[in-house]
Symmetry: D2
Subunit: 416 residues, 4 copies
């Protein structure tokens, strides 16, 4: 990651550390112990594993560099390393949900121990600037895992035919979003990416110039109602609408609707963190793959934006929207204004492969594995979603998923 240009004072860091760490644990409050052990597919990790892994990050990259620090447990390095080959072997990812020991209580004790040591070291001013930058990275990392925890627990709870709710969302009143409108942007050579004056990930850098052509962007996300029209028109049965790999994927997986959609008595319902709900035709469609997003766009006679079109449009907007703090944990209908929902509600699939920016260099050391090695076969998503921490994203922020993935809160914005 590109490291913060300005050093944070120790006490500010400690306060932020405490806040982020506490937020993580608050997310677990509605959960039973049982919920926190299970891995419902290889992409999902158990809550218990998330709680330990983000702690392992601080222990390994910050505390581990302090003289005399003794790891909490000799096996945790193996159990809770995700994919950092530079620091050792990893317990196989698809088997994370099979490990019952350490228990949740033991993992929470691990958190307590690392928290105490880290805050203590901060207070004693034993952490040098590079260590502080790693704490800053670790906190952003933990925020990413906060969103993953919500994505993952939604998938876990969906496995039970009881369709248990994670929370009771507040009521939200909506005005119908109205028909799609378009905003025009002029082509030209613009700057993209981040300067790194404040914290950004390394994949957002270096800031560089790039030419884009004239384009128009839809004012809001595609709705469930619009997606139902695509389905009703046989969208899933028309190969000419689909990317070749997408057509193969939907045949193999038998997909005929977004993830979490359940047909009951002839009517579509959607599993949400608030339980099973009738599909709201005015809310954004979510939990679609890039393939479905692209096929929908073809069907609509439009296309998906590139990540640069998106960034150019979003760069002039405030970073506001329905993030996790809105309490919905599900996308809500647009108010219909011009260029709504760029931030929050749902991550937006772009038609851009996740590639290094010109001159990109991964960070040195183990944290160099954070982003760069994933720059192949994945697609960029932009804008954050209803499960993203409120202070986490920005217009240069690049998220990335394989095109078949659906368990993230991914939606569709059209371009042309």
């Amino acid at each position: 990651m590109s490291l913060p240009a300005t050093e944070l004072a120790g006490d500010l860091i400690a306060a932020r550390y405490r806040a982020v760490r506490a937020a993580t644990e608050q997310l677990c409050e509605p959960l039973t112990i049982e919920d926190q052990v299970v891995q419902s597919m290889p992409d999902v990790s158990p809550t218990k594993w998330h709680l330990a892994h983000v702690t392992w990050f601080f222990e390994t990259f910050v505390l581990g560099r302090l003289p005399g620090y003794e790891p909490f447990h000799p096996e945790y390095d193996y159990l809770f390393n995700s994919y950092y080959n530079a620091v050792g072997k990893q317990y196989p990812r698809p088997r994370r949900g099979l490990v019952t020991r350490p228990t949740l209580a033991e993992v929470l004790a691990f958190r307590r121990s690392v928290d105490a040591a880290l805050v203590d070291a901060l207070e004693r001013d034993e952490i040098d600037p590079s260590g502080r930058k790693l704490i800053e990275l670790g906190l952003n990392h933990e925020q990413q895992h906060q969103e993953l925890m919500l994505m993952d627990i939604k998938h876990v709870l969906f496995q039970s035919p009881l369709f248990p709710a994670y929370h009771q969302p507040p009521a939200h009143e909506g005005t119908p979003p109205g028909t799609l409108a378009w905003t025009t942007f002029h082509g030209g050579e613009y700057a993209f990416g981040a300067t790194g004056e404040s914290f950004v990930y390394d994949n957002e850098t270096p800031r560089h110039k790039r030419r884009i052509e004239d384009f128009e962007l839809a004012n809001r996300l595609v709705t469930n109602g619009e997606y139902l029209e695509f389905m009703a028109d046989g969208g899933y049965e028309k190969p000419l609408l689909w990317l070749s790999d997408g057509w193969a994927q939907i045949q193999e997986a038998g997909w005929r609707a977004p993830l979490y959609w359940v047909e009951r008595d002839g009517e579509w319902h959607e599993f949400t963190l608030g339980g099973l709900q009738p599909v709201d035709t005015e809310a954004p469609v979510v939990h679609v793959s890039l393939y479905e997003a692209d096929a929908f766009a073809s069907w609509a006679g439009q296309r998906l934006p590139t990540e640069f079109e998106w960034e150019h449009a979003a760069g002039s907007q405030p970073v506001t929207g329905r993030f996790r703090g809105a309490g919905l944990l599900h996308p809500a209908p647009s108010a219909g204004s011009e260029l709504d929902q760029l931030f929050g509600d749902a991550w937006e699939w772009t038609r851009s492969a996740y590639e290094p920016y010109p001159g990109f260099k991964a960070a040195d050391g183990a944290v160099g594995e954070y982003n760069g090695k994933f720059m192949c076969n994945q697609m960029v998503m932009r804008g954050g979603c209803c499960a993203t921490p409120d202070d986490h994203v920005r217009s240069t922020y690049r998220n990335f998923f394989y095109p078949h993935m659906r368990w993230q809160f991914g939606g569709i914005r059209l371009a042309r």
Copy 2:
């Protein structure tokens, strides 16, 4: 199953019901909630599922026939039916470990509710003789699941690199078992199977005559020490020792030792319910597949017994041995006497495919699916093991597993 020939009195049944049900729950005492949720492979079921399934058996086959009984929860029939197609669809077996709700506490409440209703019905004498026979079957069924729970939790705990112990077994003093000796039996026409005067499963019937030839049976189970000789002699690398399917299996799975064996610093250890232990060369080898048992026998120049040879030899012996009540939960060395370990310590692989006896008829109704439909591709095991309830097996008892399976406590007795 062949039903008990004599009806049990209601109060005796209620006492036995309470005892068996309590024993099941005592097995869970050493476990954390986390341990009871996970399914470490498709053959394994979570403890929580076992607790619910055996309860579902009583609810469906006994309480469900009583007028006015309302099921505890409408979805439990789907969630906790194992394989009884006659009474409805089943939640997919390989996904049992993904269901976090109902929680363990809710499953225990289900047990309480069914226990109360069933004991109440017994006390009110509302259960007719056929219902009482189904209770008897259900209690034997629950005993089978008690053994499965121990097999399964051993596999679950083995997934953690912490190798957590389930219990602390008592010390047992052993005399070296000495070299293998042989007992001779004379061929002839003998009767096999059960008459059904007391409770037996349907697969043990009908009692019938069958001819066997002269044979000799080893006096004890094959030891780890003997198995280590087989390994040291390249047993896993010599295709001529193996059944064709066995050779394919060990190549594909990469097996080079019994399940639960772990090499550490050049020495073999064995994961037991008492944790990781150095391999005891005098104790019986256990957790081998039929393929390994057969290859070992070939290497030793001997063969495995047929189930009829075993039954003929065991029929004259008392049903005593180290069962679960001995508290070891692991096989212990033979005392070296003549014909030792026929019962307890380890199930013994036989060279007999699991087939219906001449004239076999499955029971009517759903419980007819109990045994008969599995009579293909599996092999018979005999004698019970260190995890079997003390009052559960007999000389006619037929257990059965696919030849590649290793997570049951399966050992080797030679014949010639």
Copy 3:
């Protein structure tokens, strides 16, 4: 195999050798080069491979023992060994159809060379009695491959939507087979298996006594018409009719009819070696798995015979029936007589797992891999079929297939 008790004179062996070898090549006459290269599934081998493998058998086990014999080609031992681990490694079975070189012409040259050397050695009387016994085994082995070649080429030709015919079968006139009748046999202790006075395989020995109970056997094979009734009655949708593994198999494979059945314009057709034909309701059903045979028997309220019931019934019958010499290469309707079709038309599934007879010992040396190592997970079939050489089977002959296999000519006879 149990070797022939009497030695054959060299010139008689040479004549028989020439006849069997010529018959193999005659089977290829209707085929194009293309047909002889392809492997349509792992169980199938290319014709070209069969032609080479049976020749390799003579080269390896007979000529290879003669002083000074030089193998035809150094790589053929690797390419054309099927499963004899004792004599070396094997080219992977599922990839046999990927080897275009040696070409068919080169394989035929290999045959010529081995034929010349072997006949020459016979004429010079250089082959000792044990070698002559291996020639006898090799000829029986080649006859088995003749049947495999027909089974396999049928499967290969079926891959083309052109449904090409292998031959034009002669017309056969049939009388309707009439309703099923039953023949009663009395139980008792009888002898089974072969004495080995003339050539038999080792799996037919030793001859031994065994008790069977009273039983009845259907007078003919189950017809397509009867099987269509089973299908029409929802036989493939009723789990209670099926063995557990069978039910899993038909779900996974999507089976709803026998192999080679094709529905066209609402009517069932059957691909035969004579091309695609409307299903003949009076002819025996064929190309069903053991699972389907067993489910049909359950549906009919009957069962399959054991291999011993079959052998007892067949032992008193002449070994006559529609074998390959009849020229049909497809089962034909029974004439309705008493106990018809025991030999020829279709192999009959039995309810007997393929196990060693009491006292069975595999032959010494590499040919000891011929049969014994397959005695696990397979089921015995009896009686030969329309593709079996006329002088190949007998009442003690044991064929064996995995219960899911369907590409052999396997049919159903009921017992009760």
Copy 4:
């Protein structure tokens, strides 16, 4: 594809048609019938299928539009359609090698028939300009399949342990390529892609402006000698060198060297269309995946070029190099000049995902499936190779493969 801007006269088209069609058949001359039937992996198609498919293209898209044309055979449309969903269903790709009928002779008759009809129609001037453009496309399509035929037959022949040679390549004398040198290019905004004045594929359009930064390009392809250093330095064992998906791929596939490399007596050999040869340390490494190319570049402290860097460098060069006409069918050492081997020898992996150019529109109708639907998950390769027809590629030509693919002639050029 972008269609040719100028119409070709009928007789010129006919001459070119005859030449391209004849070249295809000349490629088959060294092959046996056996060689032309087999499909050695799903990505490979049998030669026979290629011969038919390219003919099907002309029949379907050109002749099929002429009034009164009758298809040669009703099933060929199903058998020989590759992936054009708009014109009907396709025989499953992975099973192309299982179809023995039609035979090779029948496929050649299909070619004769279509050739006669098409030339006849051209001579009678019955084909309108849009049809002529489709012939032009069909000829370029057939040239692509000529290269595929060589790639595929190499893979087919490699399956045999005899390592048969396709041809005897002419001797080529080489001077050692010397150490790598670098050419510097200046960044700026340049035009990329094709104008479409002469024939190009649609994926090369529209021509558009794009900014690139300063870069340097290696003067030649990476050699086998350099790749052996990477291997000797443990390149395949160091996870930090690899893209995440690449590391997973080499573990799963067990790759430790390029495709076609065979170790014999401790020395590396390479299977070529001229048979098995010792690895030439001065020749370019070929048959590596994008993953291996990227890992090699990381190990060398450099990177792969983007497709735009490559196009910018190549745009000023003549389109000359060792293509198929050089007769080698294998890459040869560079002469060491400045910027050698941009064309011919080996396709060059770029670090660019295969994406649509800004404003890209697929062609209307079925041929719109030619390119656009593959623009996901694949990477661009540039420059043509030793198996590419001499008049086929250009500096704007975009080839594309999945990053794990190795059977194409793919090599490595470094950038920095």
